[in-house]
């Protein structure tokens, strides 16, 4: 864990030493704030449903954007060669990078707690359990998209290409559920299970089912293993 921590701290420092993290946090807060407040008083309900439905959409662009440079930049400026010749396991490197992106996403989510205070000020009979699971759902979706972004960043040395690949893959997972009516019934079950929306909507309704957790953890694990493998493949080029 020592090496993972070192990579994690360097990445966090790199985020906050450049405008990247601040731009992400500010724009993320503005987007979420706008979409939340524009419907909050119309719904006249004591929940954060509008926030919980808008954040996964904001993620679609934001998470590939903050993770595109994770590994692609190292490849582009050549520091990957330095890293790869240090006594460091590839998974420690990938994990350090991945945890840094998740931390940034969590900071962004923490900033949305201001909307919770708004709710507490104006609302009544608030279901705090559903709010907690809603946030857990957002954290899980964010972590899943971050693993996809990390993978996309590992297969190219061009950050723009990494961003496009990242957006493309997260869009597939995001849109899967919307195409269910068009899919033959024999495949519908599989497609529904693969759809991120299916699992996220369960959690954000206040139900934390182990199947949903297994889904998120499996997808995260799958993309992180793919990332490690794609970096290991470089040695055999």
């Amino acid at each position: 864990m020592h090496n993972t921590r070192t990579i994690f701290l360097r990445e966090i420092r790199s985020f906050f030493n450049s405008p990247m993290a601040y731009i992400f946090l500010v724009i993320f807060a503005i987007f979420n704030g706008y979409f939340f407040t524009s419907t909050f008083f119309l719904y006249n309900q004591s929940d954060l449903r509008s926030l919980f439905s808008v954040v996964p959409m904001v993620y679609l662009i934001f998470i590939p954007a903050i993770s595109m440079g994770l590994i692609a930049r190292e490849k582009n400026i050549g520091t990957m060669e330095t890293i790869a010749t240090l006594p460091l396991k590839t998974y420690e490197f990938v994990l350090g990078k991945y945890l840094a992106v998740i931390s940034l996403i969590l900071v962004g989510l923490v900033a949305t707690i201001i909307h919770l205070f708004t709710l507490m000020k104006f609302g009544s009979k608030i279901d705090y359990g559903a709010l907690l699971t809603g946030y857990i759902g957002l954290a899980l979706v964010g972590s899943m998209y971050a693993s996809i972004g990390t993978f996309a960043s590992s297969i190219t040395d061009n950050q723009v290409v990494a961003f496009i690949i990242g957006v493309f893959i997260v869009l597939i997972f995001f849109l899967m559920g919307f195409f269910l009516p068009l899919i033959p019934s024999s495949f519908a079950g599989i497609i529904q299970y693969l759809s991120v929306d299916y699992h996220y909507s369960n959690i954000s309704r206040g139900v934390i089912d182990s199947r949903n957790l297994v889904y998120f953890l499996s997808v995260i694990g799958f993309f992180l293993v793919l990332t490690v493998q794609s970096l290991e493949l470089r040695k055999w080029q």
Binding site: H2, N3, T6, I7, R10, R13, S14, N17, S18, I77, G78, T79, M80, E81, T82, A84, T85, L86, P87, L88, K89, K235, W236, Q237
Partner: protein
């Protein structure tokens, strides 16, 4: 000690390194010399574990790179060809980052930092951002990063490329001083650089090691015939014609008549020096010797010969 046996690397159909063999002992400073694309960098990348060989074996301190990559990497300091650094970090942050990944922290890091700052002449830039350092300083920062853990083995890929003459002299001096206590394997495509820095030279050409030895060994093994430029006055046709018969162990390559004198080009081998016989023949024939200049092969000629033979034959 580094031991390389039948090491090969293919990139698709291209054979970048073809079954090379060599050994480097502790305390040696060895230079890989070759043209761009000769296979130097690929060979170094395999020794450092960055690339997996297509076939063959690399052993560092009796450990095989395929089975003990991390242990070998902890014993090696490596400066890649393009000296990649994180421009947004300060020199201190960068060296601390590298040291941390090598499990050096606290007092050990402070001691290591002060040692590499001193050795690499980084005083005054330690808290500067890397992006604002000059190219020469960046090279030293890369070098400092590669030796922060005081490795016994240093592998430097083109360590002076892109530096100005003064910086080259500084880095060369640094490498030489490091060579007193470490095994240093460096690569370069600049002959003078290698010649001025290392104890032993390995010339690599089209993925193969075509020569391996000290400067003197290469000179004695690969030195061709000596070409003698002789300028004489008062030489008549007959005495010039008889020259190759009268003086043994040499060939007259060319005789050229110039205004008032002749220029004779003579070639002879390493075994016998015919200059005394030539002098005696000139005196006997009534020639006045204006100039006698032997031209021997230098390392540059050897390098050129070894690295252009295939092109010429192709």
């Amino acid at each position: 000690m580094i031991k390389v046996r039948d090491l090969s690397k293919n990139y698709g159909d291209v054979e970048a390194v073809k079954s090379i063999n060599f050994e480097i002992q502790d305390g040696e400073v060895v230079g890989f010399l070759g043209e761009n694309g000769a296979g130097k960098t690929t060979a170094l990348k395999m020794i450092t574990g960055y690339l997996v060989p297509t076939s063959g074996m690399v052993e560092v301190n009796d450990l095989n790179i395929n089975d003990h990559a991390l242990e070998i990497q902890s014993q090696i300091g490596y400066l890649p060809e393009l000296n990649p650094l994180y421009p947004e970090m300060t020199v201190y942050e960068y060296l601390e980052f590298i040291a941390n990944l090598r499990k050096i922290s606290g007092k050990r890091f402070r001691d290591a930092l002060s040692s590499v700052v001193d050795k690499c002449g980084l005083q005054g830039v330690v808290h500067k951002q890397i992006s604002s350092c000059s190219k020469g300083y960046k090279q030293r920062i890369g070098l400092a990063g590669s030796m922060i853990h005081d490795p016994k083995i240093l592998i430097l890929d083109e360590p002076v490329t892109g530096l100005d003459p003064n910086q080259i002299v500084e880095i060369r001096g640094l490498i030489k001083s490091l060579g007193r206590e470490k095994l240093v394997l460096m690569s370069s495509h600049i002959l003078q650089e290698i010649q001025a820095t290392v104890d032993r030279i390995m010339i690599i050409h089209q993925g193969e090691i075509v020569a391996n030895g000290t400067n003197e060994e290469l000179m004695s093994n690969f030195r061709g015939n000596t070409l003698l430029n002789l300028e004489v006055k008062n030489a008549n046709e007959n005495s010039l014609k008889d020259l190759s018969i009268a003086v043994p162990n040499m060939n007259v390559v060319n005789v050229e008549e110039r205004t008032g004198h002749h220029v004779i080009k003579i070639e002879y081998g390493q075994e016998v020096d015919p200059r005394e016989d030539l002098f005696n023949y000139a005196v006997k024939s009534g020639w006045a010797i204006l100039k006698m200049t032997p031209t021997t092969t230098d390392l540059e000629d050897i390098f050129r010969k070894l690295t252009t033979e295939d092109k010429a034959n192709a």
